[in-house]
Amino acid sequence: MKKPKLTLSKPKSNVVQDKDSKLFNFVNMLLLLLFTLLIVVPIWNVVISSFASSEALAKGDFVFLPAELSLDNYRSVFSDTTIWSALWISVSKTVLGVLAHTLFCAIMAYALSKQSLKGRPLYATLGIITMFFSGGMIPTYLLIKSLGLLNSFWVYVLPALFSYYDVIILMNFFRDVPASLEESAKIDGASDWKIFTRIFVPLSKPALATIAMYHGVWQWNDFMTAKLYVTNKALYPLQMKLYEIIVQSQAASSQGLTAAVAIDTTSKGIQLATIVVTSVPILLIYPLLQRHFISGMMLGAVKE
């Protein structure tokens, strides 16, 4: 940020301050518009390309509007009827996964936010280790197998129930809850569980929304779990479709070289249309959660 301005904003009269504020707003708006533009152009290019006819796409000579628009790509994406059941799997695993994950992490984060917790250094150390060390794909597979989670819907939810990173974030939020609130509740004889549900959860909505958002998007985009642990196609989530389509065009061309075999690949247009289709539902989560991010007023009022 521009530092010299700091000296300019030293207390003067109200008029100057308003001017300063207006300038600030203007510059701020301008920079943000620029930033938005930087994002919108490429995204627009992806979205509009998914509506382009294959000829227009092959020429590739447009940024904003192809010579010819067509819905063919979308037609062929939706011609796959399994897409609806995949959507159902994706939605249910995301909803369930988010609720369970956020709650589970929040409970532990609450406990860890208390310095007085006995064994806390050990718990925290274990947690940090999980962030960096993993046994790798094979032992994890064997574990999932022995837990009977292969080809089960719960494989989407249970192994992703916990993340120490999310615990740390929540913990830091919980620490900022004014101690006075907790103390007065304790005097009234409230238990830890009660304090957690009645005071901490309502007061930490922005934090919980953040974790829900992070995990929701991860759940939605995750296809590795399905790829590794699920062979039953009825349990495939939407992203697995996208993965199949993209990987088809990649691997088939490289592995196909040895023999004189023509392997049909999915066109770029269909790939892009699939991306749009698989992304739109999760993009709605943010506007839904957005009001929790702007709930500072409420919090301020409680704080007293």
Binding site: R120, Y243, L257, A260, D264
Partner: protein
């Protein structure tokens, strides 16, 4: 950890580490199975009695449907079974239900490590550990054939079985598209690489000679003048990680007839061949003239296909044109007078004939029956079925009378109905018929039965390649074992070669090319090329023994 002193932290770390070690100790010791285990084949009982003249799948009296899992080591493999014409027929004929599983090496490894292998496994790399140590996890096909289905020997190629024999003299895997020397001679298999040019361009520049480096450079200049919108010369996409260099090394070397082995039968480093380097210098000049686009080095497969299908390149050194068949046909259909044709070009400066290659005796996908197969008899029946005339006709052309007819001269042609679907609804063709797609045991000689097996656009190219195919079986599968020091060094050399090649093509002068190649040679030496070549030569000798070449 807020008030935790460093001491406390260290202490808890120690506790954690001890704990981890304890846990890992318990887990680590759990699976201790012996390494070399040979499973005993279950007896047939009263299911059927063997008959040498009759495939076992016709004899089998097993009532209930056999459920088998079939793992294919490729994510793109179509995992449907029993929903299309071809697999439905297979399902009925053999009374089986196959669940296809796809994945990559890691996924395959989870099965090995987990101890529950799929019944049938198809992999792609005959150099891999999985293939080279197949005796630890797969059934020998000979044992299976002897015990359950001797008809297998009638349909399997002896050369191929012999080629895939491991040190115990038994064969574990059987590939598709494995071409023996006889196949190369038969004329049933076609070449797949060619120098192609757009017909309109060829005529407009007066069909100049492009067989010599000088003529080539000149012709490209001419194209640039007459067709400024086109890129004069193109080639297949380079792999991003340097594992393949499009059509600019092996394929060009084949065009020039650069040998695979030297006079003594030892491995020959084709990349530093004089003839080849003379052409590299020509391509360098073409690039310096602005007639090779730098984008050709960064395009991926999709991009290359797009350029082919829109005719962006005036000429191309195209490898595996059948792979590009759909794109080539698209361009030819839309621009009949501009379609790509194969012409003579890029020929040896030393008078060598072109020695083009095709799938060799190692074939492509290799199929195994695992030692944990729930019904090995059924599995070998599938192998026999798919290789038999019956299975081949089914997978290549569908059902006689419904999708194809056979003329008196043996020529196969699709019925009018089938052709209609193929032309008008390619998606249904793929989903409902799946003709020519169920290829684990495919072979080109069946394709040759029909004029419709290949798209129109490549037929002229195939014709151009007649008599130019030359088998190179002795140098197949000669890579060092995965995980060995040599394999690592070779990987480094290959990466360096990719960089060297593109740098040579983009070099400013011929002198720079010389310097680059000298640097590459030095690099090879530093990375134990001698040890690698020793492995290669040993394997060449082994191969020759198998093939019966002295």
């Amino acid at each position: 950890m807020e008030k935790a002193t460093v001491k406390k932290m260290v202490a808890s770390m120690c506790v954690a580490i001890v704990f981890v070690l304890l846990v890992s100790g318990c887990g680590g010791s759990s699976s201790k199975d012996s390494k070399e285990k040979t499973a005993k084949l279950p007896s047939l009982g009263k299911r059927y009695t063997l008959d040498k003249a009759e495939p076992a799948w016709k004899l089998d009296t097993k009532k209930e449907t056999t459920k088998l899992t079939w793992y294919v080591n490729a994510d793109w493999w179509n995992t449907e079974f029993g929903t299309d014409m071809i697999t439905k027929k297979i399902k009925e004929d053999l009374n089986i239900d196959i669940e296809f599983i796809v994945g990559d090496d890691t996924k395959l490894n989870t099965y090995f490590a987990g101890g529950d292998m799929p019944d049938i496994v198809s992999i792609f790399d005959s150099n891999s550990t999985v293939a080279r140590k197949a005796n630890t996890w797969a059934y020998p096909l000979q044992d299976l054939a002897d015990k359950y289905d001797p008809y297998f020997y009638d349909v399997a190629s002896k050369d191929t079985l012999n080629w895939y024999k491991l040190s115990d003299n038994k064969t574990y895997g059987y590939p598709d598209y494995s071409n023996a020397a006889a196949d190369y001679k038969s004329g049933d298999i076609y070449s797949r690489d060619a120098f192609i040019i757009r017909q309109d361009v060829y005529e407009a520049i007066g069909k100049p000679d492009m067989t010599t480096p000088e003529g080539f450079v000149k012709a490209m200049k001419l194209i640039k003048e007459k067709f400024p919108d086109l890129i004069p010369f193109g080639f297949n996409d380079f792999a991003k990680d340097g594992s393949s260099n499009g059509s600019m090394d092996g394929v060009i070397q084949d065009m020039l007839g650069v040998p695979y082995t030297d006079a003594d039968g030892n491995y020959y480093d084709r990349n530093v061949d004089k003839d080849y380097l003379a052409w590299i210098k020509a391509f360098r000049q073409v690039h310096a003239d602005g007639n090779i686009s730098d984008d050709s080095f960064t395009d991926d497969g999709d991009k290359f296909k797009e350029k082919v299908s829109t005719g962006k390149y005036a000429t191309m050194m195209i490898g595996s044109f059948v792979n590009q068949g759909i794109a080539l046909q698209e361009f030819a259909t839309n621009n009949p007078t501009e379609k790509y044709i194969a012409v003579d070009g890029i020929q040896s400066t030393e008078g060598n004939e072109a020695t083009l290659t095709q799938a060799g005796i190692s074939g492509w996908m290799i199929n195994y029956i695992s030692q944990q197969c729930s019904d090995p008899a059924k599995a070998i029946q599938i192998f026999t079925y798919l290789q038999s005339e019956e299975g081949q006709m089914l997978t290549n052309f569908g059902i006689e009378g419904e999708t194809y007819t056979v003329a008196s001269d043996g020529k196969v042609s699709y019925t009018a109905d089938a052709l209609k679907v193929q032309n008008e609804n390619p998606e249904a063709w793929q989903k409902e018929y799946r003709i020519g797609e169920f290829i684990q045991f495919g072979h080109d000689k069946y394709k040759a039965l029909s004029d419709d097996s290949y798209v129109e656009a490549v037929k002229q190219m195939q014709e151009w390649g007649t008599d130019k195919l030359e088998p190179q079986f002795a140098t197949e599968n000669i890579g060092p074992d995965a995980g060995s020091q040599e394999a690592r060094a070779l990987s480094a050399i290959q990466t360096n070669w990719s960089t060297t090649l593109v740098s040579m093509l983009r070099a400013k002068s011929d002198k720079e090319v010389e310097q680059l190649i000298a640097k590459y040679k030095k690099f090879e030496k530093e990375n134990s090329i001698q040890a690698i070549n020793k492995v290669r030569n040993e394997k060449i000798a082994e191969n020759k023994k198998k093939l019966g070449i002295k």
